[in-house]
């Protein structure tokens, strides 16, 4: 049982997986339970209504530190980006000084913290102080950016993709910020999350699922026709948007060894702990060692 | 054939109600007044007497303009700018004290007048700051009378004003009523069940029939009020009792 966002990217993947019979091939059966909000999936996992959701490793580490052993398996490296209108005069993070910057995900968003670190290092500005920050719900921010009320907007990648299709360009991406913070390559920000004990009991099923997931990603990375089939789920307004979404998705497929991932995540964790403090990362001083699913062997 | 009353000429009050009926919630139509017509001279004191439930209050409500859903015509005294009514129940604002209840009825010009003498006569002294729920029914009725008297009305309508009062108090208040009524030109219309009271106060008594109310008879009393002593009263009561048996 996997809890997903109905219109989230995970649902695309699972849909493609089932349509191509990849779940059966790997000896698993998936029951997709759609939810309308990210919080809902977390509640569902904690309430035992689903076995697996998609979330980020920081959350997992925090939960582990507080005594709830969940584990994490990389799913996507896509994170948000700061988007500005194509003809905007803003060329660098430094130009954001005094401008209105919309931020999705709240002040403790991992991506936002990394970008602040980047801004401090590169442009020597404290974005949170020197730009006018508007925190709000992502759809609202996207809309406000279109209306021109915001000069720039830091937003999750699927919204960013739509904005890009609508004539925006990327000012700085989350990947860049992570790189600047010491990551050696694209780090999978989000991944499948499940209870450790459950995974140990059903390790075959978990292995099968992860293998199926990889194979599906492979398929989505190469086959454009699969995307056409997914179009109704993606609810793209037009061809361009669909294409941008596809390209972005493909860019986000993780392909590094899990050990590298862990190393980078640990590095990022330290940076995040410095900026975000205990509030963000929880009581753990370092990335909890069991955060990544132990049975994980990254294929490519 | 219904004898349709014609409105009469007078600068006082002319009432000519062809028909007033109520549609009850259970769908029945109730004829309350039918072909009731009388006049009251401007500045005169007119009294209505009739059996319980015959339509007296209904008639007063029509006169007051509180109900306009009837067939007929009502001509109010010319220049009856200020109307006072003493309803069958006290109708005081329960959340305002006695004095406020009275003052609220006063027109701006009289708002600040001294009400103490009035309260004194009505036996309400010391109760000015009391809420209606803290009054006995008789006291509440007196507060309602105070309100009506205080505004110096040109049309005064009273619906059984002196019930729930002991005879001594009632007598005092009747005197007060005549005082108030006579100091200024006031047209008064009163309902009572008490023929003695009617005889004492009225210039004209209108006797009403059972429901639907119509005029059963009318008596004008010309004797000045000062001359209405006990002997005179006994005489006239006897005569009226003979004319309208059952009323006394």
């Amino acid at each position: 049982r996997v809890g997903v966002l109905k219109f989230g990217t995970v649902n695309w993947e699972l849909d493609a997986m089932k349509r191509n019979g990849l779940d059966a091939k790997h000896g698993i059966s998936i029951e997709v339970q759609p939810f309308a909000g990210e919080e809902a999936t977390a509640v569902a996992l904690q309430g035992g209504a689903v076995d697996m959701i998609v979330s980020d490793w920081l959350w997992v580490s925090r939960m582990r530190a507080e005594g709830t052993p969940y584990v994490f398996a990389p799913y996507s490296t896509s994170v948000g980006s700061i988007m500005v209108p194509k003809d905007s005069a803003i060329r660098s993070l430094g130009d954001l000084k005094g401008k209105v910057l919309g931020v999705a995900g709240g002040p403790l968003d991992k991506n936002w913290l990394l970008i602040q670190a980047l801004a401090r290092r590169e442009a020597k500005i404290d974005l949170a102080e020197e730009a006018e920050i508007a925190y709000a719900a992502p759809p609202l921010l996207a809309e406000k950016a279109r209306q021109g009320e915001l000069d720039a907007v830091l937003i999750f990648w699927n919204y960013a993709a739509r904005l890009e299709a609508a004539g925006f360009r990327e000012l700085v991406s989350g990947e860049e910020a992570a790189g600047a913070a010491g990551a050696s390559g694209p780090v999978a920000a989000i991944g499948y999350v499940f209870p450790e004990a459950w995974a140990r009991e059903h390790s075959a099923a978990v292995e099968g699922f992860l293998a199926a997931s990889r194979e599906t990603k492979q398929l989505l990375a190469t086959s454009d026709s699969e995307w056409t089939a997914l179009a109704p789920l993606i609810k793209a307004e037009d061809e361009t948007t669909l294409n941008v979404m596809r390209d972005r998705y493909r860019r986000g497929i993780p392909h590094r060894a899990v050990t590298e991932e862990v190393k980078d995540a640990e590095r990022l964790y330290r940076v995040l702990r410095d900026i975000g403090g205990e509030k963000l990362v929880g009581p753990g001083l370092t990335l909890d060692s069991g955060t990544y699913w132990a049975g994980l062997k990254n294929a490519s | 054939m219904l004898d349709v009353p014609k409105p009469m000429k007078t600068d006082g009050l002319a009432v000519a109600i062809e028909e007033k009926s109520f549609l009850s919630a259970n769908g029945r139509r109730i004829l309350a007044v039918s072909g009731l017509s009388f006049t009251a001279q401007a500045g005169a004191f007119t009294t209505l007497i009739g059996p319980s439930g015959c339509g007296k209050t209904t008639t007063l409500r029509l006169v007051l303009g509180l109900d306009t859903d009837f067939r007929g015509q009502i001509q109010r005294p010319a220049g009856a700018s200020r109307v006072a009514a003493v309803f069958q129940e006290p109708r005081l604002l329960p959340w305002r004290d006695v004095e406020t209840n009275v003052r609220l009825a006063l027109p701006q010009a009289l708002r600040r007048r001294d009400l103490r003498p009035l309260f004194e006569t009505l036996g309400l002294s010391g109760l000015e700051r009391h809420f209606p729920a803290e009054l006995s029914l008789g006291l509440a009725r007196r507060a309602a009378l105070a309100r009506a008297f205080a505004i110096e009305p040109s049309l005064l309508v009273l619906d059984e004003p002196f019930v729930s009062l002991d005879e001594e108090t009632a007598t005092r208040l009747r005197t007060l009523l005549i005082d108030v009524w006579s100091t200024r030109p006031t047209t008064a219309l009163m309902v009572t069940h008490n023929l003695r009271e009617a005889v004492e106060l009225s210039d004209r008594i209108v006797f009403l029939s059972e429901r639907p109310a119509k005029v059963r008879g009318m008596e004008d009393i010309a004797t000045p009020r000062a001359d209405r002593d006990a002997a005179w009263r006994a005489r006239i009561l006897e005569r009226l009792d003979a004319l309208y048996p059952g009323v006394l």
């Binding site: 966002l5 109905k6 219109f7 339970q33 759609p34 939810f35 309308a36 909000g37 919080e39 809902a40 509640v43 569902a44 904690q46 309430g47 035992g48 209504a49 992502p138 759809p139 996207a142 809309e143 609810k235 | 549609l23 919630a25 306009t68 859903d69």
Partner: protein, 261 residues
């Protein structure tokens, strides 16, 4: 004087005419406003109708609407029954009221989010938790309304009932409830709407169907037309309940006030 105030066939017809007129004017105002705004975010009635029709043909709209309605009705019944009982008890008992007042204020002000999450965590992600969470959110409001009503109960009539030894049931049915009718009407009307709003949040946080689930999906797609379509579908149901259930009930219950009331 008020021919339209009557009951019976003529009254019903007049009511229907007013209803139609009202809705038409509302639509006209909306349409003109939408045309002036001329934005994807302010859809015209036609756009909303199209969105609603699209989801009706797939069966989605009726399905999700039915799910939400079931939850709303269940939670409404529970909340009104429990809330009225507590409210009347508090309103009639000073000491209990004094003691429980802070509790009431606490429960009034616990954010819906907290209640919903706790319900899902404790009871599980199921209908019981969903309906319970909605009811718990609404109960304090019902309590407050009924309590005010019970405080304002007529004392002389209560004394009369005491002298004539009314039994508990008679007292409730013939003495207390008729006096609480306006409060019940207020609680029911704003209750249904509040419950529906909470249901939206409940569905957002932990159900895989219902209008709340759908609205949130369309919110993440910024599809205002579809959101309004679902909203209006619910409003239509509420309007039907109002006209076919609440108003006739109310007319019966307030007959005694006389036809001009």
């Amino acid at each position: 004087m008020h021919p339209d105030a009557g009951t019976g066939a003529k009254g019903s017809l007049a009511r229907l005419a007013t209803l139609v007129l009202s809705v038409l004017v509302l639509l006209a105002v909306w349409w003109i406003g939408a045309d002036l705004a001329h934005s994807r975010l302010v859809p015209t009635p036609a756009a909303v109708l199209a969105a609603g029709w699209a989801d009706t043909r797939t069966g989605e709209l009726p399905f999700h609407l039915a799910m939400t309605l079931l939850r709303v009705v269940a939670a409404f019944v529970v909340a009104m029954a429990i809330g009225a009982a507590i409210g009347i008890a508090l309103g009639m008992n000073r000491a209990a009221n004094r003691f429980f007042d802070p509790w009431l204020i606490l429960f009034l002000n616990i954010p819906a989010l907290v209640v919903i999450v706790l319900a899902y965590l404790w009871i599980g992600l199921n209908e019981t938790a969903a309906i319970g969470a909605i009811a718990v959110n609404k109960i304090p409001n019902v309590v407050v309304t009924f309590r005010e009503g019970a405080r304002a109960l007529d004392r002389p009539l209560a004394e009369m009932a005491r002298i004539y030894r009314f039994g508990f049931v008679d007292r409730l049915r013939h003495l207390v409830l008729p006096q609480l009718q306006p409060y019940a009407a207020a609680a029911a009307r704003s209750g249904l709407s509040l419950i529906w709003k909470i249901a939206l949040v409940v569905e957002l946080l932990g159900r895989s169907n219902g209008v709340g689930f759908q609205i949130n999906l369309y919110f993440s797609l910024a599809d205002v037309a579809a959101i309004l379509a679902y909203t209006l579908a619910f409003v239509a149901v509420m309007l039907a309940i109002e006209i076919l259930v609440l108003q006739p009930l109310e007319r019966r219950a307030t007959r005694w006030r006389g036809r001009h009331a």
